[in-house]
Amino acid sequence: MTTPGALFDISKPLSLRAYLADLWRHRQLIVELARADLKQRHVDTALGNVWYFLNPILLTAIYFWIFVLILGTNRGLGDAEFLPYLAISVGLFQFGQRATMAGAKSLIVNRRLVRLVRFPRGVLPISGVLAELAAVGPALFVGAVVAVFAGEVPGFDWLLVIPAAMLLALFITGLSFVAARAAEASGDVINLVPWVFRLLFYLSGVIYSVDKFIDKAWQRDLFLINPFHSLLSLVRYPIVPDASPITGPMIIIAFGWTAVSLLLGLWLFRRGEANYGRE
């Protein structure tokens, strides 16, 4: 930070560069907080880690039953073809919602820590997202197994889901910075987050294929704006390329949204940094 032995102004906020360096220095704390979070969560469950697999399986089963078997939202795609599409979408969308919520609550649940210990507060939303990221591996695994049963042939190109999921996680990290700042300013935000995600859920083609369902071009463009539509398509594509095709604009939109969310999130979050935890 400064030369050893020299006094420095601790009441002055860090420059962006020093802040990022400070975050990096606290990377072990980010991991430890996420680990503590997961430990706490499983204290009272008998099944523990099994829930990571049960959650996406149960959720996929419910949506498959209601939307595919009863309502037939898989228009143009076979039931079996649609099942892996659904499994991956549902699992990852749930990660997005839970991680944003964890980020939103992170400054509030760690209030005592914030009052007592100085560290870059960005540690908290990041570790909230990281704890939820633990669920992504199992969700993708469930999706891949379902895909194999549906007749897809596994290959090394399936590994591309990992960078695609990372891109989604980065987007969510930015979003959780925004949510954390907003939730700290007003408790109403915590109530609002599920509604925003519910809307995005229905508008992102998680439970139906946008290409097969939306006919009008301008309506499809509207879906394109939804970051989840592009980001989830990118994750699905390596495993179910036919059911979930991607286009050039979708790739640009996915990266664009990620950049916007990270920059905006960091900027907004840092502006409130000095006042977090105050009465």
């Binding site: 601790i10 706490q40 005592r112 009052r115 560290f119 006042n275």
Partner: protein
């Protein structure tokens, strides 16, 4: 004032913490901007232009009545409260030891120790190495694997004290925690704080226990309505404060 040497006669080390005209204001209306009733809330001026210098090896005590701004000053010195005006310069970010610790009730003693040490800036490896010593000092060996919700409040307080003092912060700020634990633990806590000041740390403590202040501190500041009223040898400042407090009590009774 004895600025050139510590109260115990030892020469002072280099400056580790320096406050220049620090003002702390609370703006209740800023925090709850959406609520109508807060429009009338006024800012509270908790610390009014405090300047001080603390050296290596010093144990500085801060005394004063409730609401005199002691805790706000301590938070500001820790870099935890934004200051309205002025500046806090330090050799390192100070560690704050407070009465309401940041512990996790669902986690075991060991997990809390590791997390606590890492929050204070240690690596995971360093934190793990400190676990046995902290458990021993806090005297909580029998409970270390149990979640903290099953611990007594005295045990938790001892654990937190042991964590904050074991990471060997360059500057330690202590807020009213020497009252925790039984007589034996209090004695050991005092000894540990003295030890820390000898091993080139700086300790600043806020306390209402005048006996303890006199026992541990090398210098004392009396804070009154956010301003420094007196500063100097512990015995002298504590006496001045006591005299003032008893006069005030007499006035209020009559």
């Amino acid at each position: 004032m004895d600025a050139s040497s510590g109260a115990r006669g030892a020469p002072l080390g280099p400056i580790t913490l320096q406050a220049n005209g620090v003002h702390v204001l609370y703006h209740p209306e800023r925090r709850r901007a959406f609520r109508a009733e807060s429009q009338t809330a006024k800012a509270v001026h908790a610390v009014k232009g405090v300047s001080l210098e603390v050296h290596e090896g010093e144990v500085l005590g801060i005394i004063g009545a409730n609401g005199s701004g002691k805790s706000s000053l301590l938070m500001a010195l820790a870099g935890l409260l934004p200051i309205e005006q002025g500046q806090v310069m330090a050799l390192a970010y100070p560690a704050l030891l407070g009465v309401r610790p940041a512990i996790r009730q669902q986690l075991s003693g060991t997990d809390n120790i590791i997390l606590g040490c890492m929050a204070l800036g240690l690596s995971r490896k360093e934190a793990v190495e400190l676990v046995p010593g902290i458990v021993k000092f806090a005297g909580v060996a029998s409970h270390v694997d149990l979640p903290l919700r099953t611990w007594s409040s005295g045990m938790k307080a001892r654990l937190v004290f042991a964590i904050s003092t074991s990471v060997e912060p360059k500057i330690l700020l202590v807020d009213e925690v020497l009252a925790v634990g039984d007589a034996e633990f209090r004695k050991r806590s005092v000894r540990r704080l003295r030890q820390m000041s000898r091993s080139s740390s700086t300790v600043i403590m806020v306390s209402h226990k005048m006996q303890q202040i006199q026992k541990v501190c090398t210098r004392v500041i009396w804070l009154d309505h956010g301003e420094i009223r007196a500063e100097g040898r512990p015995k002298r400042v504590v006496q001045m404060y006591k005299r003032y407090a008893s006069n005030l009590a007499d006035e209020m009774d009559s």
